[in-house]
Each structure stands twice: as C-alpha cells, then as structure tokens.
Subunit: 444 residues, 2 copies
C-alpha cells in the first residue's frame, strides 16, 4: 500500500495530474485520506481539487481539523462557497469555528436559506456542548404511524439525513417518546404501528457536555442518540462516528497533558518543530519553577547534607520512587474519571483506598530499602531509607489519587493536575520528610 501511495506522489511531482486522477479512482476514501496526510500543504490542495465532489466531501470529513483548515485556505473563493454548501451542517460549524469570524459570516451568507437555517440551529449552542456537535438533519417518526408510513418517509428523507438507522419516535407535540431502529422497521410488516416497535430512548440534552455525551454513546454502543431541548423536543441527532472524533480529540489532549505538554492537534510528522517546541516549553517552565522548590528545600538542609554526604546519594532514588507511585495513582484515577467509574463525590473512598495501597507499597519497598541500604552502608542509614520510603509512598499515592479529583472539582481538565505536577509536589514534600526522618534517626 505504502509503495502504491509513493507512486502516486511521483505523479504529482511529474505533474501528471490526469494519471493521478485516474489512479485515485481505484482507491477507497480511507486510502485517499492516508495519501493526503502524507503530502505537503500545496500538493495536498492540488490533489484534493482533483477529487470528484462526492468523494471530496467524504474525504474531507475524515481529515484532521488542522488539515481541513489548510485545504479550505487553498481553495479559490468560488470553490470554497460551493464546497461549503455540500458539507453537513455539523461539519460546517466545526470548520467555521476554525476560521476567522469575518470569513465564517461571509460563508454563511452564501448558503441557501434551508442550509443556513440548519447551520444556525447548531451555531445556537455554545461550543463544548453536544448541541454544537449534533446534526439537525434527522428523520423523526410519529408514534401513531404504521411501519409502511415510516418506511415511506425514510425513503424520501433518507438521502439528506445524517443517519436513518436510528429514528427518534415522537408524539404529536414532537416530544421524544422513544427510538426505533431501521432494522426493526425492515424486518416488520408494513401495517404494524411504530409505537409497538419502539424502545426506550437514551437521549441527551443539547446543553450537555460533548465529551460526556460522546462517551455515553460509545459505552452504550448506540449508533446514534437523539438530542433534545429543555422541553424534551427532538432538535438533532448525534452519531457514533462524531462521538469517535470527540473521544479521539479528548484522548489526545489527555495523553499530551499527562506527559506535560499541550496537544499538537495535527499529525506529528506534519507539525513544524517550532510548534512542537511551543507545545512543551510553557509546561516545562511551570514545572521548573516547581522544581526550584526542591533547591530551596535542599538549601535549608545543607548543614545535614555536609554532615552526612551519604544522604545525598539516595535523593534521586527516593523522589523517583515517590514520583512513580504518584503517577500510578494519578493515572488510575484520571482514567477512572474519564470512563465515569469514579466521580468527584467519591473523594473519600478514593483517598481511603490510596492510603492503604500506598502503605502496602511503601512497606514492601521500605523493607527492601532497609535491607539493601543497611547492608551497603549502615543500619542507621537503612532505617532512614526504609522509613522514608513508607512515608513517601503513602504521601504520593494519596496525593496522586486526590489531584485529578481536585482538578475536576475546580472545573479544570483532571489531566492538567495529574502526573508532572504530582512528581514536582512529591519531590519537594518528599525531601522535607526525608531530612526530618534523617535528623531524628541520625541525631544531626
């Protein structure tokens, strides 16, 4: 496959665009996306313009947002307006969010009235809500209709709707009563009433947090979920492929912040080195300020360090182990929060569990540390190392478990408060504990 794509790239270099167009006819949409992601900005724009309109819309939908934005910038004004019109309303809104406001408004003005009003429905919800990510093009079926009537409506509306596989069932006031799957409609006789086929709807409020709704959609294996307004009227539908996009973006953000960096939001190899550097430097500086605390702590205990230089030897081992224990707890809790296994109100349950885990881990490591440091140096040093490991592990596991919950309660991304922060926090407090224990055991 990779070789085939390299051959296509050769066609661009040789400016054999007609051959390229013919060669791309053989590829499925996913392969075209892979191909486009390997090209530079200019080649990508040229290649994209060769695609038949239907393929272009499908392919565009699968591209990363940053690449979508670049492609739009590479199109001529007339082409942009035309292309913009052929997108789904929700994809259109996502794209508008990335554009300068003046360009977005101009685009909107060029749309035909129906498309414009659909787009405005989605634009009416704040970003970050599921209303902003849903599609207003759904097919709702009244509960008193027969299967035959419902199928007739699906056949007529089926081309434009976002999905026809999950259909909201409504009453005469357009209030959501349930959902019916196309599979059930198809495998049932035409004269059966829809109400008898429908199942309980798992719907979501349009103001609901988008990531949370996406995770619910994925966890519960829905192909689509109806979105309702405050009166429980259906205003849109939200499909699993949009849920996947939202989850992927959220996971990338979490992964990046766990590692102490901002997300790149575009494929690594197509990101300029300076942009990668910028995604990391702020975090490094913030963490370095925290780390400067450790210098002050050690400075305060300089007399003890001069008296027993051996104490300095164990500093990296002790704070490293503390950092690792804190990381483990923070990662577990951040993940549990993301999956909805733990909520902010579980804070005491989490604390009590992590204290016990920390003490168990600390005792195991502490016993080993006591033996090894005792044999290698002397039993007083061994005692200091052993006791410090118990204390640091308990402290680190508790702090690691609490920080993500604290972050969540403060309304911040739990991952921001997680691993690198904990390591820095544990470094400084761990050193204080270490020297206090050393002072009382060694009498210095």
């Amino acid at each position: 496959m990779t070789e085939q794509l390299d051959e296509l790239a050769d066609l661009i270099r040789d400016e054999k665009l007609r051959d390229l167009r013919i060669a791309m006819d053989e590829l499925n949409d996913g392969d075209i996306v892979d191909f486009l992601e390997r090209l530079g900005v200019k080649d990508r724009a040229v290649t994209f313009r060769l695609l038949p309109k239907d393929t272009a819309v499908e392919v565009f939908d699968m591209l990363d947002q940053s690449l979508q934005h670049e492609i739009i910038e590479g199109l001529k004004d007339g082409d942009v307006a035309h292309f913009f019109e052929s997108l789904d309303p929700d994809d259109r809104v996502r794209l508008m969010d990335e554009m300068p406001a003046s360009v977005a408004r101009k685009m909107l003005r060029h749309l035909d009235p129906r498309e414009r009003s659909l787009t405005n429905i989605v634009l009416g919800y704040p970003s970050g809500t599921i209303g902003r990510e849903m599609s207003p093009e759904f097919v709702a079926v009244p509960e008193h209709w027969s299967v035959g009537q419902a199928m007739e409506k699906v056949r007529r509306a089926g081309v434009d709707a976002e999905t026809i596989y999950t259909l909201p069932v409504v009453d005469r006031q357009r209030l959501l009563k349930g959902v019916v799957s196309l599979r059930d409609l198809i495998t049932t006789d035409d004269d059966v009433i829809v109400e008898s086929l429908m199942s309980e709807a798992d719907s979501v409020d349009a103001d609901h947090d988008a990531e949370d709704a996406a995770r619910r959609c994925a966890d519960r294996k829905h192909l689509a979920m109806p979105v309702t307004d405050k009166e429980h009227r259906v205003v849109g539908i939200f499909t699993v492929d949009d849920a996947l996009d939202i989850i992927e973006r959220a996971e990338s953000e979490d992964a990046a912040r766990h590692g102490g960096a901002e997300p790149l939001n575009r494929p690594y190899l197509s990101t300029p080195v300076l942009q990668i550097m910028r995604s990391r430097i702020v975090w490094l500086l913030v963490l370095a300020v925290g780390a400067a605390l450790t210098v002050s702590v050690l400075d305060a205990f300089e007399d003890q360090l001069e008296a027993v230089t051996a104490l300095a030897l164990f500093v990296p081992l002790l704070i490293g182990t503390g950092g690792n224990t804190g990381n483990q707890a923070a990662t577990t809790i951040t993940r549990a929060l993301a999956l909805g296994d733990v909520a902010s109100r579980d804070v005491f349950k989490v604390l009590w569990r992590e204290v016990r885990v920390g003490i168990t881990l600390g005792s195991t490591l502490g016993a080993l540390g006591f033996l090894i440091a005792g044999l290698a140096y002397d039993w007083e040093i061994g005692t200091v190392i052993g006791l410090t490991l118990v204390a640091i592990c308990t402290l680190a596991a508790s702090a690691g478990g609490l920080m993500p919950l604290l972050g969540k309660a403060l309304g911040a991304d739990p991952a921001v408060f997680a691993n690198p922060f904990i390591a820095t926090f544990v470094d400084a407090t761990g050193l204080i504990v270490y020297f206090l224990i050393a002072m009382s055991v060694l009498g210095i």
Copy 2:
C-alpha cells in the same frame, strides 16, 4: 438519576424483587448497566436474573468483561447454557476466553449445530486478530442481484445478522467486490442492479491485528468492515461498536502503562485494594532497581559532592527537568504511533526532530538556569547548570522519542518502554553528564 438508582438498591436490600423487576422496566439498557456496575457481586447476580431475556443479552453485552465473568459464575448451570446460546458468536468467544477451558468446551457442546459452527469459525483465529473479534453472521449480496432481491434477503436475514447497515457485495465465487449501504438500497428503485450502487470495500484480513483494524474502522468512520480470508472471500463482519470496545481496552492499557502500572481491567471502585497494589508493585520494583543506578552514579562522584556540596542542591531540579522533557517526547510519539501518524521506519525523522526540539528547549531553560543559579550562587555554578540543562534536555527528548519506537520494533507495547523507564534512564545518564560538566568547569 443517581438517587433513582439508590432507591432501586434499597429494593434489593428489602428483598422486594417484584417491585425491582417492575421498576427496571422503566429504565433503558444503559441505565441498567450503570445500576449493575454499582452493585456488589451477589446483588448483581440476583438483579441480572430478574431481567427479561432480550434485555439481559443486551445489557450483558455492555458490561465490562470482568463483570460478565462474575455474572456467568453466579448463574445456575442450566441457565448458563441457555444464556450462552442467546449470545452472538463473537461475544460468546470473548466470554469463553475468560473461562476455564473445560467449562468452555462443555458450553460449546451444548450449543445447537448452527451456533456451534458459527462459534468455531471465530475460535479458528488466534486471539489478538480481528478474526477472533468479528461476527460470522453477515448478510452478503451478489453483485448481479437487483435492489429488490437484496432487500428481500435483508428482510429475511435481518434479525440474526450482526448488522444489516453495511452489506458486503460478492461475486459468484463469494469473493468480495465492494460494499453497499442499506441507506443506498432503501433510497434506490427495486430494479437497479446492486453492482451499480456498490462502492469500493475497505476490508481487513482476518489475521490482521485487532487493535489496528479497530482504529482503522474508527478513523475512517465505517459502521462496519468486511473481514476476508487469504483468497479475499468474506468470512465475517466487524462493527464499530466492537471496534470501540477494542480501542477502549487498548487505551486503558496504554494509560496504565504510561503511569507505570498494569491495567486493572475493571471499574476502580469495584477492585480490591490488594489487586490495585499488585497492579503496581512489580513496576515499582523494576523502576527502583533502575533508580538504584543513580545511587551508584552519585557514589562514584562522592568526592566531588563533598568538595562542592552546592552541587547536590540541583540534583532533583536537573533530573526532574530531564524526566519531564523525556515524558513529553515519549507521550507524543506513543500517541502518534497509536494513531498511525508515525511508524517504526520513521525512526530517523523522529530522532532528527526531537534532537532539534531538545536543543531549543534546553537552550531556553539553560539560559534561565544560568542566570538564576548565577545570581543566587556564583557564575561558575550558573555555567554548570546552564550547560547541563542543554545537554539533559537534548538527551531526554531524543531518548523519549526513540524509546516507544524501539519498543514497537521489538514487538513490545510501546507504552511499556515509555515514560517511567525514560525517567529512570535519564536520571542516571543525566547525573553522569552533570558531574562531568561540573568537573571540567569547576576543575574538581
């Protein structure tokens, strides 16, 4: 919602099982799953037995594997066999993988011949492949059929099939020629030939890695992908909801290993403390052995430490910054690997990028370090700190970028080789660099 679930839990405590059964009729399947996940093992088994058979199968499908296993253990033998029969073949195989082999074989013997042969198709592929996760119950349509004929087949086979929304199109030898969506069939006249409607199939080989196939399915927004054998005959279908399960399991595993622990594979609050401790202790011990290296390194430079005690003050700051820089690079590359943005063969591209990012980050931090340490202590110390930061950041970013690729090339989970390992590696090598620089600048 939470309050409502608490009221239901009260009904179990008061043994009002009839009331509970009636109350659960009002809930959708997702809410029942949430309810079951909050219960203890025994209550969960009791509650599960109250569900109507159809609901039980749906709900079972949404539960975590560990909870599925416990529920099966809580059922009576006759019930198990009955329930086992009503599962889809792919879910049945996943459950069998968790059971003792003797129980699994007994279960299989009780199935009716058709179900048994379907189950055996899936069992024929090694675990970890997409063949093991696919469903053999698909509806294929011959390319020369009319839409009317195809719809007739869908209507007949629609109840049993895993999905009817994406249909593989085959030739007379059952070779895969393309796919057609139910939406296209429904919105097209009955006498059109299927071949003219079908689009290029994005299929996957049954021996292909399951996680990779799942990510492709999700990335390309397919509701389902046909699975083929070596001759390109369709052997099964793989749906997006199964893809989501596989991705979630993989992400949880990656997240845990990033934090230096093994995945729990079950909801946090329902995991015993000792099991949480076990998921962490092995990693901590391995990392502590690595950290013991730092003790030896410092021991080797003890004379220099005694000569200039101030050197000890900066140890946590320097290795902490190195660890953070390494983490950032490792996280970025691990994520890029998971998303397919980077492959093993890109190793030199990645190295060259990370070296440049590392030098840029190191120079920025180094300049600051030089100034601050110079002002607070003296300019010689400032020089040592500044130079060490440049060296450590470059080293850490390169090592952080390479480790996940190395892990992947060795066939290991990239996340295993990632963050905690890098921190330990950077700690030891960073200290050597620090003391070598200090020795040459300070002349000690």
